[in-house]
Each structure stands twice: as structure tokens, then as C-alpha cells.
Subunit: 369 residues, 2 copies
Amino acid sequence: MTGVSALRFELLASDRSTAARVGRVITPHGSFETPAYFPVATRATVRGLLPEQLRDAGVQGLLVNSYHLALRPGAALVQRLGGLHRFMHWERPIVTDSGGFQLFSLAHLVHIGDDGVQFRSHLDGALIEWTPERAIAIQEQLGADIIMCLDHCPPANVDFATAEAAVVRTTRWARRCRQVHRRPDQALFGIIQGGVYPELRERSARELVELDFPGYAVGGLSVGEGHEQMIAILSVTAPLLPADRPRYLMGVGMPRDVLRAVACGIDFFDCVLPTRNGRNGMAFTGQGTVRIRNAEHRDSAEPLDPDCPCPTCRYYSRAYLRHLFLAEEMLGPILLSLHNLYYFNRLMDRIRAAIRAGRYAELLTEELE
Amino acid sequence: MTGVSALRFELLASDRSTAARVGRVITPHGSFETPAYFPVATRATVRGLLPEQLRDAGVQGLLVNSYHLALRPGAALVQRLGGLHRFMHWERPIVTDSGGFQLFSLAHLVHIGDDGVQFRSHLDGALIEWTPERAIAIQEQLGADIIMCLDHCPPANVDFATAEAAVVRTTRWARRCRQVHRRPDQALFGIIQGGVYPELRERSARELVELDFPGYAVGGLSVGEGHEQMIAILSVTAPLLPADRPRYLMGVGMPRDVLRAVACGIDFFDCVLPTRNGRNGMAFTGQGTVRIRNAEHRDSAEPLDPDCPCPTCRYYSRAYLRHLFLAEEMLGPILLSLHNLYYFNRLMDRIRAAIRAGRYAELLTEELE
């Protein structure tokens, strides 16, 4: 059934001394170069930014949350309006998640069973059932290019038995997702679970690879296990995934997470960090993070980052940005989110260039010291 | 002392059957064609919009509030950072008001005297004194192209004696403003008061015209007196102002207010309406106003206005815009504010074209029926 996937993956370059690689993922809405970092458009919008601003910042694709859209405005409505790309006016690739992560973090769970999950909406308390079949139906209605199997994502550091049960369930659910998925223009990815237990990660990877997905995600990380443990798990998990399929690390992360995950062979990421931290007044720069509300920036005519080509750094002083945040003006979150997206996309540019040049280990040393 | 003003006004066309006229106001930061409508950048930002988006929407100039900026971040800080244009990255004309309107509406007044006003900041309760001299000093620090005399702006429909006292005080304050104003790159306008009393409007206009300002504003309108009374007052006030100076109607207004004020000979306007109403989910369209939260738009694939060339109408359905508002996403207020600015600027385009064609009376009939 691989033939039903419209997704193609081209491996373009591999680093000499790490597992890092450069590739291209080709979807019905254009391609993206990997390693890539997708911002999150939770409710079919990256908060405060227009699609043209995202494009200018180098954003290649977006992650949209099925859970949030299914609750409001509803996936059927999005479908009637032509699907996500038209609904939100984003013509490049879109990934939707399966709702699994939100179910286990946001929703008020009523029952978790092998068949699926019952929960109460965090919006209005309505009782909702979420099954593998429904997760696929919703994602088919939304119409993203890459969609995800429903997985069971337990919290960090659960015991072995709990993590094992989640792996068993995740494989069963993946098989059911695989069976009901129909849209040939969407690529359905499997999600590896297994917590912090290498043998469970190995089992999860083996079982999902047998199901032959066009791509694989590593889930259940960045949920509280810490940076070192995350990298330890990735370094045993990523090599188990087929080299000719893209590997997606969900919900990650900080620059150092990304740098080291790429060295493990991860191809793309999604994370709210650039925009959420931007909204909260934190900017990533080549000289470290800047908390723009701090009094030290009160009189500063300097840009956030003198080496950054983004509109925020070209046109505005730290003093102005601080003023916007203190006055609670929307433009503050907008300008810092925009800057942070430039920052992460420029980091990905450097990562791809270093891999192509066969000097990724040097980049790691430079960036992580 | 007219020679100190860098402002020039060119009268380009006059309507045949009304007092409407087309002109050009030339400032050190470029010119704007009149009749013009300036959105309000209360705290040195038009909420949620970048300067390039304002330019694309046809915005020719901005009004910025001295009162708000003086309280936070402080006018001296803006001056140290190069003045308002650089601070907020707006290269076109800027008007600042004198703070008078906010003093009499927002602030907790402690004392109003002939010398000035004492009030407590609405931000932190600090006791602040505001005099004509201070209003000018603050506006010189901010550095707008057009600045305003401090005026006494009483509420609508005060009795004759109160309105008269405000006129007397406004003239005295205008004289003091005129005496201390020094920056040759700023044009200082006088503000006509007089409430709803034609004889007081006449007196205020006569006294201020004697002081020979490079432009005149009509203040104290749109404060609750109603549309018909506002137009009645304008129709007696505007003809008293010199034809070779621009006439500015402050804080107005709705399309019908603008259309009829132009017929009285008003040249430019500022108002929060396009952006404030946009933030609240109200869009102006050629088919009337649209309240985007209404359930009738839930499934609508239609744009706000099929005849509007703005990005909001080109790319987004009413259903998507409604979704953004119900989800309290920033992009909703952004897209409706942007649309409304296009709407008002296109209205001003039609107004200028009709005046040039000598058919302004016909436009009035078409638009107001």
C-alpha cells in the first residue's frame, strides 16, 4: 500500500561523521528541504502572522492540531471550505497531528480503552470519542499533506509496564489507521512510542516499520525526560527507522535539541517554541536569549540581533520592542515571533549547509559550546 | 512667524456645488493628498499592523497620542531614540495631538486652571501637570510633522457659559503654544472649540485665525452631539477658516460623517474607528457592515466584500475569519483592521476622484442613500 502515498523523499547528502543528512520531502503542495523546522498553527493560524510573513521568514511547512480544529470550528466545516490549505491560505506543506498528544495533556479524560479514548472537550465539556478511525477521518477532512496515526503518548518516566502497554496500543492503533486511510494525496506516518526504554523503542520501531509507512515520527519525547535522555533515546531509535523515509521528531524543540537530534538522523521538527516564546517576550539571538521586558533594554537603540536580516531587527530598537510589550500591544508578540522564526530557519540553513559540506560535527561544536 | 512652518498646502481642485476640495499637504516626511483619513497609532503602533501593511492599505499618515506616549515610555525616551518616525518605523507624515482630549476623558483630573491641568495618570496614579508649554515640549520631543495646540475640550452639550470659558481658555493656550513652539520642521495647528454654539465657534475661529496658524483643526466634535448637529456646526465653522490652510476634523468618524464633513470643506480626519471596530469583529463593506461573529457566517466561503482588493478579501472566507474571532486568535483583529483601512482609504479615493470630476454632490447622494 505504499503506492497510495503521494509523498516522496530524496536523500541529497549525508554527513561523514554523524548520522545527519540533507533531503527533500516532496508533497502535493510542494517540497521542503530537510532538516526542517515547522512552526505550529494550532488553530489554523500561526498566532499573529500572515502566511506571506511566514514565507518571508523561510517557513517551509506548518503543523496544525487536529484536536483543536475538530473541536472548533469542526473538521467537516474545514472540508466544506476546501480543506486546510485553502481555509488558512497556506499553499505549502501542512502536517496535522492525530490529536493523541492533546488528548493526553489537555482533555479531561473519561476513559482510555483499546478501542479509543473518551474525553470531555476543554471548551464546553462535551463528551467526545476519539478512535484511530476517527483520527484518520478528521485528518482526511482537514486535508494536510502529512497526517499521523493516533498514538498513546504517556507522560515522561512512566514505569516499564505502562510504557509497554502504550507501545502495544500504539501499534494496534497504527494498524487500524493504516487500514482506514484512503486519501492518496496524504502520507500517513507512524509514531514510535516506548518512553525512555530502549527495548520498547526498538519494539515500537520494529512493529511500525513492518506496517510500511511512508515516514515515521518519534513521539513521546520532550515531555519532561530532559535533554540528555531525549538524545540517548533518539540515538537508539533513529537508526531503527528506514533510511529512505523521512524521520520526524514531534514537539521539539530548543536549538540544542534540534542540533543533536539532526546528528541522530532526524529530518524534521515541529515546535511552538519560536512563536510561544516570542509572544512571551523572549527572543533567540546569536548572542543568546533576550528577555525584552527587562529594564536593561529601556533605552537601547540596538536591534535584538545585529546579525539578523529579519524586519524586526532591521527596523526596530529594543527600546521600541520593550515599549510594545509593556503597553501590551499586539505588535510586540508579532515582531518577536517573526524574529524567532527567522532565527530558527537560519539555524536550519546553517545545519543543511554544514551537512552538505561534510562538517556537521564542527557546527555542533561551534553551536553547543 | 508663518515662515517657521515647513508645511505647505496646495489646493488642487474644488467641487462645483459643495465646499469639498482636493489638495496636497507637503511635510518634511512627504505629502498626503486630501481629503485624507489617518488611522490612530495610539501608543506608536496601529494595533497589530506593520508599517508596510499600512502603506499597502493606502494609509498616508498617522495620528499618535501625546498623552499615552508621554506617560509611557516617555517623550524624552522617544526623542533619544530619534523621534517618532524612527521609533515606530513610519516614514510618512505623523500628527500628534496635544493630550487635551485624553486629559478630559481618560485622566483623573485634579485641577483645571488657566495655567494648565493637573491630573493623575491612569496607569499608576502619578500626579502630572500638563500646560500649553508642556504640551508643546512633549510634541517637540516626539517630533511629528503636524502638532496641535493644547485645547480645552468639554463634553458634548455643556451650557453656553462653560463652552465659552473653554473657548477663552483655548485661545489663551493657543497663544502660549504659539509663543514657545520652536521646531521649524513641525507645523503647529490651532484647534477651534465652541461646542454646539455657532457664535462661540465663530469667536474661536476668529481668535485663532488672528494667531495665523499654518493649519486649523475643528475639535470638540464627535463627543456625543450626534451626526446632524456635528454637520450643522461644521457647516458654519469650516467657512470661517482660511481657504489656503488645511482643515482637520479630529476624531471623526463614520463614512457618512466623513462624506458630509468633506462637503463642508474639511481636508483630513483621524479616527480609531477602522481599527477599533475591526478588532471588535465589525467590517465595513460596500454592502453595509458585517459582524463577523454572527452565526450566519459560520459556513460562508464568501469574502467580507467581493469588490474589495485587500488581502483579507482576496484570501480568506468569512467562515475562517469568524473562526479566528471565536478562537480569540490575533489574526482575526489583524485581518479585519487591515480590511477596514482599505475600505476607508478606498472611500477617500472615491471622494477625491468625485471632487476632481466636479461631481461630489452625486457621490454624496449615491453613498448616503
